[in-house]
């Protein structure tokens, strides 16, 4: 007999499937306030353990504790709460609009609102995000008009993308929001390139790349980390780990690596893991990374540990692959409720004011929707011109596209 038995392939499986009881015992949650806050010029080698922990500020009682607390005023926190509530209300209305046939497709942020809303506040005007499709909070928190977002979602006559791009694939150079591709991971290395350009020009602006847990498996993720590491690009590399890549649990992309953040360690990039449902923690970590970038100290990798409460998109049904009650069992709670609780504890907010704000915000969203709908929705009212199919492929329309446009009757 040979000393080696036959080989077998290991295919990871999530702990539970539909019908099972949710189980997050594998998600180790450190106590809020327990993770130290190093100086931004720390040697990445000295903070390797931060890639395996979770930086948290808000504890179960709603108190802000530890070295990552204390960076935001009441007013700033109230603004943050408002942004998250706005994004949640926006999502609710747009999901409904999709079901009503006013658009073909929508992607919501439910449960992940803190990540993009708080992150935006750590950036300055002029900085550039290279987002995925689940960071609309970057626009909301920068006061980008909701009506514009809706015009894009409805592909109506005022759609800034002239009907050419899928709903939610926004673009706004002015608001530091690079045109969303819809491909995965391509934008990650582009963010590094933008940051390199800023450094080449001795500018002061920084870039931020965004990626999901699943698409860290793409080769562009690796390329981005290599280039960011080699050229010490002033870029923040964000991984939003919301546990699910459509129906695929995060273990398929993570493989044998302890965490997604730990992927940065081999590149010598400081890697931090943060409670993605904690507005204060997200802000504090983003601010730390932004400061490093602005001081020309190079890139930072941040993993936001969060949970995708909703479906991947309106084309997805999560009940087919995960327990229906899993989101309720998620140990890091809900970002809106947690910040609300904290603000009430601070004496800056109340249940009554929250209920009133919810109603006012919903009204604001509905008003914006009415205005957008006056300019059309996907199948009704004003829409982009057929000419728009042919325009903008190149700065100057080449003869062959002109011939095709004429053939189409325009």
């Amino acid at each position: 007999m040979d000393e080696f038995s036959r080989l077998s392939l290991h295919v990871p499986e999530p702990a539970v499937r539909p019908g099972d009881l949710p189980d997050f015992s594998n998600v180790k949650i450190p106590k809020a306030g327990s993770v130290p806050r190093p100086g931004v010029d720390v040697d990445p080698e000295e903070i390797r353990d931060l890639a395996y922990s979770i930086i948290r500020v808000l504890n179960r009682d709603g108190e802000a504790v530890g070295p990552w607390a204390g960076f935001l005023s009441d007013e700033e926190l109230l603004t943050g709460l408002r942004h998250m509530m706005l994004l949640r209300a926006f999502d609710a209305r747009m999901l409904m609009a999709q079901r009503q046939g006013k658009t073909s497709f929508y992607m919501q942020h439910l449960g992940e609102e803190a990540v993009s809303c708080a992150f935006r506040k750590a950036l300055r005007k002029g900085d550039m995000n290279f987002p995925t499709y689940r960071q609309a909070g970057l626009l909301i928190a920068d006061d980008y008009p909701m009506v514009e977002m809706m015009n894009q979602i409805f592909s109506n006559e005022l759609d800034p993308c002239h009907g050419r791009q899928l709903p939610v694939m926004y673009t706004s150079k002015e608001h530091g929001f690079f045109t969303i591709s819809g491909n995965l991971a391509t934008q990650y290395v582009q963010a590094v390139g933008w940051a390199m350009a800023s450094a080449i020009k001795n500018d002061t602006r920084i870039a931020a790349g965004w990626i999901g847990d699943g698409s860290t498996a793409e080769s562009d993720f690796h390329s981005a980390l290599v280039f960011a590491s080699t050229y010490k690009a002033p870029v923040i590399l964000n991984i939003v780990n919301n546990q699910w890549a459509i129906s695929t649990f995060q273990g398929i992309a993570r493989g044998g690596s302890g965490t997604f953040a730990a992927r940065g360690l081999g590149f010598g990039i400081p890697a931090l893991r943060v409670d993605g449902n904690d507005y204060l923690a997200v802000y504090a970590v983003a601010r730390w990374a932004a400061e490093r970038a602005r001081l020309n100290l190079g890139p930072t990798l941040i993993e936001y540990v969060t949970y995708r409460v909703g479906a991947h998109s309106t084309s997805d049904d999560p009940s087919a692959y995960r327990p229906k009650t899993e989101s309720e069992a998620w140990p890091l709670g809900d970002p809106v409720l947690r910040l609300k609780k904290h603000l009430i504890l601070r004496g800056a907010w109340s249940e009554e004011r929250h209920a009133q704000a919810e109603a006012e915000i919903m009204d604001e969203v509905i008003q914006a929707q009415k205005e957008a709908e006056r300019h059309g929705t996907l199948h009704a009212g004003g829409r982009p011109s057929v000419r728009d199919i042919f325009e903008g492929v190149y700065a100057e329309m080449p003869p062959h596209i002109r011939r095709q446009r004429q053939k189409a009757g325009y």
């Binding site: 673009t171 706004s172 590094v192 390199m196 390329s223 280039f227 080449p398």
Partner: protein, 337 residues
């Protein structure tokens, strides 16, 4: 005016562009300190500093991906892919990103990048150093595709490409780097210094992208070619004595259809030549266009001469490469039909 090889002409184009515009940056594998495996970027790092001309990790998707980000910032990256055969890891970035950024954002962001790559065979490079992937780019709306055939054009077209507001794929036939190779591999190489198109102005000039050039006037048959095949076609015409009109496309996209149609209507016969494989090659597009626009003027079917539909072999290179003998037979076939 100086006598330049195509390598020197390409280098001069980047030099002139970097001197004129501080936003032009050049990078790729081995392009910095060493100056590139074909030496196209030699001296640029010393002259412009290592933040404007630098070496990169071996990552084509990284090279093109960062170039796209830099272009979004406002720079004008001119990057090198060491061999066209290595561009595939960057293909996602080129096709779904570079080519579509203007369109999908309605001009909010644009992507003025140039991706240079040595293309074609004739140097015993085997399967992975001989490919001609131009059709993989012409099939992508949003890219421009340029293939020069001589030093004068290479410089003027590359400057145009760098100044272009959209992404340009710039394929440099590597067998033409040092001389106007006509397919007669058994003969000594002619140097560009002995060719009039090796006369290259030192300063700035441009050749518009989208304009073909007739290299040989004739009335018997139209030959549509680009890159190395221009010189092969010229040799075939001389050797057969067939009165061929040889069109050098110079840019495949946008395409100078007018020049093609005028010539094909005049001669009534057409041969399309390229080094890339036959099936779904750019020659298929050219043959279709000639058929659509010149059908009632044609005396014989359009003939295609191309690389075989096989990977590029190593030892049998000269049985694969469409040399003057094969092109000559195609000219005769078109004349007989």
């Amino acid at each position: 005016m100086a006598r330049m090889t195509m390598i020197e002409a390409v280098r001069s184009a980047m030099d002139v562009s970097m001197a004129r515009d501080e936003n032009v940056v050049v990078f790729g594998e081995d392009v910095g300190y060493f100056g590139g495996v074909f030496r196209c970027t030699q001296g640029l790092q010393a002259k412009y500093g290592k933040t404007r001309c630098f070496d990169t990790p071996i990552s084509e998707s990284g090279i093109v991906g960062t170039a796209i980000g830099m272009a979004a910032y406002g720079l004008k990256p001119c990057v090198e892919i060491q061999f066209a055969d290595y561009m595939y890891p960057a293909y996602d970035q080129l096709t779904q990103e570079a080519a579509r950024i203007r369109y999908r954002s309605n001009g909010d962001f644009t992507c003025p990048i140039v991706v240079r790559m040595p293309t074609g065979g004739g140097i015993f490079g085997g399967q992975t150093h001989s490919q001609s992937p131009e059709a993989l780019f012409t099939h992508v709306c949003g890219l421009k595709v340029v293939v020069p055939s001589n030093p004068y054009d290479a410089k003027g077209l590359l400057i145009s490409a760098i100044e272009d507001p959209d992404p340009v794929m710039f394929l440099e036939p590597k067998r033409l780097y040092n001389g106007p190779f006509d397919g007669h591999h058994e003969r000594p190489v002619t140097a560009w210094s002995k060719h009039e198109l090796g006369d290259v102005p030192d300063g700035h000039y441009t050749i518009p992208i989208g304009k073909a050039e007739i290299r040989r006037k004739g009335s018997g048959v139209t030959v549509i070619a680009y890159g190395t095949m221009v010189h092969v076609a010229l040799a075939a015409a001389e050797e057969t004595g067939i009165d061929a009109e040889v069109i050098d496309l110079r840019s495949l996209l946008p395409l100078d259809l007018e020049t093609i149609v005028q010539s094909a209507k005049k001669t009534g016969r057409c041969v399309v030549v390229h080094e890339a494989t036959l099936t779904s090659g750019f020659g298929a597009e050219l043959a279709a266009l000639v058929q659509e626009h010149c059908f009632y003027h044609l005396e014989s079917p359009v003939v295609r001469v191309t690389g075989w539909d096989t990977p590029y072999p190593h030892a049998q290179e000269w049985d694969y490469f469409p040399g003057p003998a094969r092109v000559g037979r195609a000219l005769a076939e078109a004349m007989e039909g």
